[in-house]
Symmetry: C2
């Protein structure tokens, strides 16, 4: 019931062409529209909140969330962590991301390439007063394939261990080296050299794995 | 509030060592325990239902769901489909799965290899009276890496377009050929031949892509 209701609310969002940040009708209005109680509507909205399809703003209402078009998600209530789990994540990335880099070099989607260049530049010199959220280099690399499922896969993986990623950054704190490696990968992608992009991404992740193991 | 409450319910499931299929305390008991109202508990439970961490059984109660330990999910309210989206999924799998096959051949995790053998055998000769759910060949292949995040990634991707996968199966209905290709991949993984496993998986997915494009 709540699942079908949630699907129907998503359907309203789509047919009314609402975008992330747009406000939804109130729970009371939705309850009237679907002829159910307000608590039932709120249960359905909480389901949608779990996947980022909607978000609540205290005292203001319900808004379309950034996750509305997302197909792959990190579980928001993911299992607690262990050092082995962090290593497993790096190992998974090591299997997946070199091929993604190769695909990026073959496709070089224009929007993705621009994001990739931005993310490399911003890492050392964050633009001041710029409202755009920083795009993670590895997510931008996946976006350069032009395949949004690949971008979502990398984003979901990075999100799985968001707190541990922060810890990895602390341990792997050679930002100059990180930046230099990103620049080389970007150059290989820009040049359309799939084999080189693949190899450089592999080497980059191997050095991250060494930092995690240390 | 509902998000923190959902996290705390997950915490209870973990500290009490509840497993998928085990029953949770009633909403009323949980409400008393957390000193909130029953509708507030139900909102939190609906959040958890969205990610498969719990499931409701009508007239029976709330149970721990199969998704409790899952870190990567397919969005249950995913965007509606288009032929381009199905092709995008196959393209994404073509980038990711050959490397996964190579990693499987290098690791050959014993449990995974057994599942892989089962899934190949069951495809043509489903065991009668067996209660075990059939494991998808491509998910079992990822499991053979021993990395559960890789298995979850493939499972989430296969789940993204579960209806379309059924349609693909109809179009790509040469089960004998499908089975023969799976057997060859299994043999390469079993022999520890990473390069061959990678190439055969790529060829297998290319032929699926041709079927999708047709």
């Amino acid at each position: 019931m709540s699942e079908r209701l949630a699907d129907e609310i998503v359907e309203i969002i789509r047919t009314e062409n609402l975008e992330p940040g747009d406000q939804l009708a109130s729970s009371r209005d939705l309850a009237r529209r679907f002829e159910v109680t307000t608590p039932t509507i709120r249960e359905a909205l909480r389901r949608l909140e779990a996947t980022g399809a909607v978000e609540f703003r205290h005292g203001s209402g319900t808004y379309v969330g950034a996750g509305i078009d997302r197909r792959l998600l990190a579980n928001p209530h993911r299992p607690s962590t262990s050092p082995a789990a962090v290593l497993e994540l790096v190992e998974a990335r090591l299997v997946l991301e070199p091929s993604i880099a190769a695909a990026a070099a073959r496709t070089r989607d224009a929007d993705g390439l621009r994001q990739l260049e931005d993310s490399v530049t911003n890492a050392l010199h964050p633009p001041r007063g710029d409202q755009r959220p920083a795009v993670h280099f590895h997510a931008a690399l996946a976006a350069t394939t032009g395949n949004t499922l690949l971008r979502e896969t990398v984003e979901a993986l990075l999100h799985v261990r968001v707190r541990e990623q922060i810890e990895i950054r602390h341990r792997y704190d050679d930002r100059e080296r990180d930046h230099a490696e990103h620049v080389r990968i970007l150059d290989a992608v820009r040049a359309g050299d799939a084999a080189l992009a693949q190899r450089l991404t592999e080497e980059h992740l191997v050095s991250i794995r060494e930092a995690v193991r240390a």
